[in-house]
Symmetry: D2
Subunit: 239 residues, 4 copies
Amino acid sequence: MHVTVWNEYVHEQQEERPRELYPDGMHATISADLREHGYDVTTATLDEPEHGLTEEMLEETDVLVWWGHRKHDAVSDDVVERVKSHILDGMGFIPLHSSHESKIFKALMGTTCELSWREADERERIWILEPGHQIAEGLDQQIVLEETEMYGERFDIPEPDTLVMVSWFEGGEVFRSGCCYRRGSGKIFYFRPGHETCPIFHNDEVMRVIRNAIDWAAPVDGPDVQFEAVEPPLESLDE
Amino acid sequence: MHVTVWNEYVHEQQEERPRELYPDGMHATISADLREHGYDVTTATLDEPEHGLTEEMLEETDVLVWWGHRKHDAVSDDVVERVKSHILDGMGFIPLHSSHESKIFKALMGTTCELSWREADERERIWILEPGHQIAEGLDQQIVLEETEMYGERFDIPEPDTLVMVSWFEGGEVFRSGCCYRRGSGKIFYFRPGHETCPIFHNDEVMRVIRNAIDWAAPVDGPDVQFEAVEPPLESLDE
Amino acid sequence: MHVTVWNEYVHEQQEERPRELYPDGMHATISADLREHGYDVTTATLDEPEHGLTEEMLEETDVLVWWGHRKHDAVSDDVVERVKSHILDGMGFIPLHSSHESKIFKALMGTTCELSWREADERERIWILEPGHQIAEGLDQQIVLEETEMYGERFDIPEPDTLVMVSWFEGGEVFRSGCCYRRGSGKIFYFRPGHETCPIFHNDEVMRVIRNAIDWAAPVDGPDVQFEAVEPPLESLDE
Amino acid sequence: MHVTVWNEYVHEQQEERPRELYPDGMHATISADLREHGYDVTTATLDEPEHGLTEEMLEETDVLVWWGHRKHDAVSDDVVERVKSHILDGMGFIPLHSSHESKIFKALMGTTCELSWREADERERIWILEPGHQIAEGLDQQIVLEETEMYGERFDIPEPDTLVMVSWFEGGEVFRSGCCYRRGSGKIFYFRPGHETCPIFHNDEVMRVIRNAIDWAAPVDGPDVQFEAVEPPLESLDE
């Protein structure tokens, strides 16, 4: 299983609190955890040529984890098309937190993916709705994050194929925090936590969800689908 | 559109607070609102012969609204079978609140329909997830109930065909409060509010949801489905 | 209910068989049927300024019916964005047949929307899977088209929110022919029939489906959704 | 992974053709294939005490494969309740073919699970709709069975959580042949093939699907869900 962790890597270089939490970037923290648990991991960031997402790189990637926020527009349309094509061909995709507004997530969903929000370091309770889902493996009924940014409904997404988690926020909102989608041959899991000024990716349960999601989203060696004229017909049309 | 409102009608006869709120029973309060809005309504209660749900009665019912709690087991299995058969044949069904554990809802869902709860008169915010759904007509983004019983996830139901509402509770829980299902030719909308010691059915927005759900669940005059041996085949098998 | 019927209107002007079947274009035939059944209808075609889909026009449209095939690429990206925005805001959308590859349908689905096909004038049986769905009103269990183009699976779409119809083809294929989606506040029904060299839109049952779909996709006056920072919090964060 | 294969085991003892195809019963043929592929398998049949499905047996079972037809009514209600309880607690369940009308499948679905049929040894083409699904691993785009019983829509089931396969039949029908459901903590895959007078379970692709479905339906060690009063509240209600 080869995982690529992509990070915009802007906040951690420009702001104090994110740098303290993630001195080498969120991608480094996430990757370290994954490697510890036996995954083969590469990282890529916005500033690399082709944002580090070359055709060769994607060809070798089973699951792509994505964190973006301030620089969504700086991701080139060509790279977005390339990533989308790989996802539809079977690569798993795990957009985190503010990646709900990334070009690639919006292109896959077909909606605005907008939401309400509040930065007030309030408490979040992520409730697991589907205890029998692969992504719930090893979890308790809820994950509590003592201080985080709020995301609230209406979250403008297509209804998830499976809704695994819903968050409760201290200030009064709810949010669909763990959403599974199948698009083309690829599997997508949007996971809400990940605000850059909170130690979210140092939380064991959050990382457990990410690892479970990677396992769930791994490509399947299914039928080689042809989109073409079928001639002659499978069944005779002679009669 | 003919609506039947069924009520167990026990709390309102035996306990003070429910009697104050609903002197003639919750079914009377709900029916009065529906009639005011132009619906043709009949009521039925547990103590009537066949619980008021005779074959003739159901034959004339387009949508059945249901409230039960303490006496789920007192509903006869024959009546449950009869109601289920009418739902599968196209009658709409709106189980309210504690009806999540009614025999009829459990028989339609195939799961335990259990949940967590707390009676502490806490605040509930019912968030509308799907603003374009027929059941959201005329609503605001949330319905706030200042004092109500809490219901919390895990709610052991099949994933809804459409999840229209999720509730936030002051004490920390979330709950899938407005759930659409299609079973057989019938449409079902489970709606959470309705605790007997709170004036829930005197709330205009709650009643608006119930009326919207009745409109949504109205029977459709679709194909007359046959379950039988198809002989001779539609297409020749001669070749 | 105001319906706009959009047609590429190329085949009927350039090829003999389509012109015979639809001398004034498919949009004229479809519109005539809708008007007969009491709908208020406007038509629009590719060659009009802004393809006939101005902001004013879309503002007044409840449901947009769409037929395109050869000239998908000639539809301007600006108009596609405008149409998409209206759909997400609640306008119904009914893409027909070869519109599966229109820019607007692909943008809403997020997938390639590709499929297999064969032009051999073979028999199609459209089976109604959901007899209780509004779009099945007044239909029989199947619609038989004696001669049509074949579309076969794999159809690269997101799994429909509700799958209402599946087609059987004489040559051996199946196809998801009637697919409901909810995107933003809008409702979408993809309907397969409509090949330009067959008298599909002269078929009463096909037109019944289109009218049912229009009724189903009509906009709802739901909550006015805000995507914004929520300050101050609904609940106090003081504790 | 421990699999239990349950078989009614009536046709193979009473009729010539099933006996020729499955001299030791279909359960023996299915089990042999599973053992060859490394699964730990036990079998159980109707005539054993408690139909071979004791509490101890189910406690050790990860996934239960089920074939029944003529003797659905002979399965005791107590055993059905016990099996259902284990499925809701996380045991996988793979009902095959005529098991669509078994007590246990109907109890889980909440609908009649009826369908149309024809015994005419006609051709079936099982199309894979979801090439990226775990159950499609290693398959081609279709599985062709040259001679089998026909099952046709309307199949009276809840809309599947994921529809993986749809069948085409020579005589003109289609059928939802591979249907995934999540109920409680358990996963269910209904798979259509398996007529007792055809060598269906000697077909490598059919057996591949069954093995894939077993892998997909394996239990997950998720949250230990409590259905109970939550006191005191997680969050203080003091304010």
